[in-house]
Symmetry: C2
Subunit: 445 residues, 2 copies
């Protein structure tokens, strides 16, 4: 494959050295596809089939995939093919189709036509895999990704230790608002040393619980446009939407991806989302990668074909494919959101009450040593601690008050604080949590 | 972590540049572990919990992980924690423990004490992931892995295109037996340019359906020992045991890993196996990585701890963790092999009959243009084709005879042949398959 459409669209230049090299050669998959269409005897596939009557307590003579009834019994409501068969490298069509519609549904209030410009999502086993393969594909080891200084620790593991690339941090907040200037100068600075900029945004944010409102989202968009203009280099912006929808005030309930999707040919937007938090299916491991390819990039169909080849090349040589039964379950659930939306709203509202209770409690017991970041979403709140080491504080909190929190102490980035998970607390525990932190700070001052 | 035990054991020197660098830093995971033990209020975790009575049609006030009843209904026989909770990076303890016992069971006829020298298996989402992370960990881009020329195509994708390393091929067969000399000279040759050799063995073999008998297995072991002696460099040998147990004659029914496990301090053996074929659970995606660490490597406990840190560092930054419900199901199944062994034996015997039918049919219709490799196991047979291009033959077979097979044509490696899957055919189709191939070769001669 020559990747002509990718080159023509300008997207090719955004790929890492690795991403430029990787491709999926023709082979077994294509011969198998042809055999499915053209063959009467199909001797291409890597599975084994037979009649249930021949090996299990069944009278069925219908040839199907060999499987063990003991496993089948564990998963009662599916047909054997839905559980035991392989899935295609980038996911079964039903989950890819239904997730595309689900994205359309989630973003419809901002852009009712978003489905027409997005790609068929790639199903991968979790958002981590999504972030990893996107970074592997678009970030060379000599380049830097731009992220806020307050971020999920696994980004550092993926980008720095696994990919071997760098991170250019910017301070997330400035004067209690999003730090547009910081984002812009990070883009302009990194673009001096590389052919494009790579920005990773995560709202609702881990660890701060921050989501932008509509005005902020629009201002982030204009910041990106200005930055691209000033640097003269294109930009890829990845949204990690793990906590999409978990918003407890009037801020954006949909992903900022919808706003980023059509900012012009110099800005390529990619959305990563998944079932872990959105469908409260932590142990399921299914994430989705979706690109926005508005008409100015060129022929969307051709670009999709070439991008898929790249991702199949990488995904097949890393994880092969994702668990079938999970894909089948998610396809079935997501194609009928009415079956779960009400229940999910109730869960979001319960977590919102916990967030608000924590906010009130922190305000009631305000302490000049403890400065909470603005939080309105997600599962976490972040307390900046003034003079006491966050790690010492976390240790003391555990030992004396039996309170477990996550300390963030990165001196270089000027971070010293505690991440609190409010989503897994009861409202009743919150006053004890805040009192404990206040007392522990006082103990150590 | 300083990896003192790994350095002392000599294993550290087998790691790739990347493998030498990667580590799992202390962080959220450790704070969460401490909170589980020490905290009364646990505000560390990234999940959300509440009472079922608050959001679903349930009277239960027992706080548990938030989940959607519509998904729960799809997986009826499990408790919510078994489906919806996260699994640890390298797998839930029950599946790791039960798989270790399962390896002990599989290898008991050759070595009843194997469990005492193997590590706790790492659960990863499929054998492909196992091969990938092992190659990433032990093979630097400047190095070469040693594999037979007849091999699974995805090895090339993983090692060459994904890792960026090389492959040194050796011819699998010589005079209708395993090519010991070829293996040895590949090891001695590559060891000249790198600090260790890396060998990947796959029995039952894809694409040839070949498994060694006991005598051959022992001779492979002595070949490895001689090679290491001659090269003066250590060696890591990975066994891809995807098709373990699917053997239809008196050859090794257990993995050659058992023979390789105790060849001395210069040979580190690693086993990769999984549920795809072994438990006929194609769509499940669960593989296992297990090292043999006999006492001569040093303190097994310390080495295990350091190896796990390395693999957690890589696995968490690539796939995070593996699907919980699959792990729970496999743990439950594998801890009671009696529940499925009989059924599995019946399946193996049905596939064996197909293999034998194909063998007879090929002998009955022997053709000097078609030379089948020796096959006695797995799902495939390989026919070497003399004068006709394998790809043209496969194309012609499809078009004229409606027969689908996979062509292998690698001129540099002197390969031109067809891979036939016998495992998914009916015995009745086999004469038509062989006749079709004979006719197609005659057509094209």
């Amino acid at each position: 494959m020559e990747f002509k459409a990718l080159k023509k669209s300008g997207i090719f230049n955004l790929l890492s050295t690795f991403g430029k090299e990787i491709f999926q050669p023709p082979g077994i998959v294509e011969w198998s596809e042809r055999a499915k269409k053209e063959a009467a005897i199909n001797s291409t596939v890597g599975v084994a089939t037979g009649k249930p009557s021949e090996y299990m307590d069944s009278s069925s003579d219908k040839v199907g995939i060999f499987h063990l009834s003991a496993i089948k019994e564990l998963y009662n409501n599916f047909k054997p093919e839905q559980i035991f068969a392989y899935a295609p490298v980038l996911g079964i069509p039903s989950v890819r189709n239904s997730w595309k519609k689900w994205i359309g549904f989630k973003l419809k209030d901002h852009n009712p036509a978003i489905e027409s410009i997005i790609t068929q999502p790639y199903a991968i086993p979790g958002i981590t895999v999504g972030i990893y393969v996107l970074c592997r594909m678009f970030l060379s080891p000599t380049e830097k990704a731009i992220l806020p200084e307050k971020r999920w620790g696994n980004y550092d593991a993926i980008i720095k230790r696994n990919i071997g690339a760098g991170i250019q941090s910017f301070t997330l907040f400035r004067e209690n608002r999003f730090n547009y200037e910081g984002l812009k100068s990070a883009i302009v600075e990194t673009a001096k040393n590389q052919d494009k900029a790579f920005v990773l945004l995560n709202f609702p944010n881990n660890p701060t619980g921050y989501s932008p409102d509509r005005e902020t989202a629009e201002k982030i968009c204009s910041t990106l446009k200005e930055s691209v203009k000033e640097s003269g280099k294109p930009l890829i912006v990845v949204t990690d939407d793990a906590y999409e929808g978990f918003v407890y005030d009037d801020s954006l309930k949909h992903s900022i991806f919808s706003h980023l999707a059509e900012l012009g040919k110099d800005i390529l937007a990619v959305k990563v989302d998944g079932i872990t938090k959105e469908l409260l299916f932590w142990g399921g491991r299914l994430g989705m990668i979706t690109f926005a390819i508005p008409p100015y990039f060129g022929d969307k169909g051709e670009i999709e074909l070439e991008l898929e080849n790249k991702f199949v090349g990488l995904v097949r040589a890393t994880i092969s494919n994702s668990t079938k039964i999970i894909q089948e379950g998610v396809a079935s659930i997501v194609s009928e959101p009415d079956k779960f939306l009400q229940e999910r709203e109730r869960i979001i509202s319960i977590i919102g009450k916990k967030a608000n209770a924590l906010k009130e409690e922190l305000e009631k017991n305000s302490n000049p040593e403890i400065l909470p970041d603005h939080f309105n979403s997600g599962f976490f709140a972040f307390l900046n601690i003034k003079d006491v080491s966050a790690e010492k504080l976390a240790d003391h909190l555990l030992k004396k008050y039996k309170i477990g929190v996550i300390p963030f102490e990165k001196k270089k980035e000027n971070i010293n604080g505690l991440r609190l998970t409010f989503s897994s607390l009861s409202v009743e525990e919150i006053p004890r949590l805040v009192a404990g932190i206040n007392n522990a700070v006082a103990d150590l001052k």
